[in-house]
Symmetry: C2
């Protein structure tokens, strides 16, 4: 990635030692916190340029264009940075209404109840159909 | 910390190599994403036991009882874990209505506008008065 052409606002972010920051995605219409993923400079710049959430996959070590397989793209409506300049908040429109690869609306479907994690959100779509497998 | 007495639900969390996970705090009444901080096993267990958010301060390397100085405690109303079991979502009641050490309602007060970060949230209380300095 050519750093010479990068805008100055990217330099105001305090990237961690791996060059990443956590990015929280919140759904504009419902206020639901959908997920947390990570971004590097390139993925954030592309997100802003393309108007959709593009994360950095730490497990695959590559750009993760959210929704590229499932179609469940996150349109970027607003971008926020926190006081310490090391966390991003993305206000998004979640296409398809499904942010989680398990087929649920969002990723935070486990709730602590009496010392156990309980799944409290329904599967809206079979994940096999999301990924065509 | 005596690990023998720790409940099993703590073991279902995928702590990172530093023994931490990111914790997103969302305000129950408004749906606002207030902040993101980090937790270790001890801070999470104490949060659940005491019913308030207790984080792990990475900069100070010690427990951070949110609101201990300012009084702006976060009462823990609900705890969620994500699909990958490595991110927590805390639904909280923010006492005092101020989550950010800058005296703002929440920490995500910088908004990207035309290639610049712009402060778009008012300071509700002088931070000097929050910390008695």
């Amino acid at each position: 990635m050519n750093t010479e052409r990068q805008p100055a606002w990217l330099d105001e972010i305090r990237w961690n030692e791996e060059g990443l920051v956590p990015a929280v995605a919140q759904e504009q219409s419902t206020g639901k916190v959908l997920m947390l993923a990570w971004m590097n400079r390139e993925s954030l710049l592309l997100s802003v340029q393309e108007g959709r959430a593009i994360y950095w996959s730490r497990s695959r070590q590559k750009l993760w264009r959210k929704g590229e397989e499932s179609g469940n793209v996150q349109l970027l409506k607003e971008l926020r940075l926190d006081c310490d300049q090391d966390v991003l908040l993305l206000i998004v429109e979640q296409i398809g209404g499904i942010a989680c690869h398990t087929g649920r609306h969002h990723c935070f479907f486990r709730q602590l109840q009496d010392n156990s994690w309980v799944n409290v959100e329904p599967v809206l779509k079979d994940p096999k159909s999301l990924y065509g497998k």
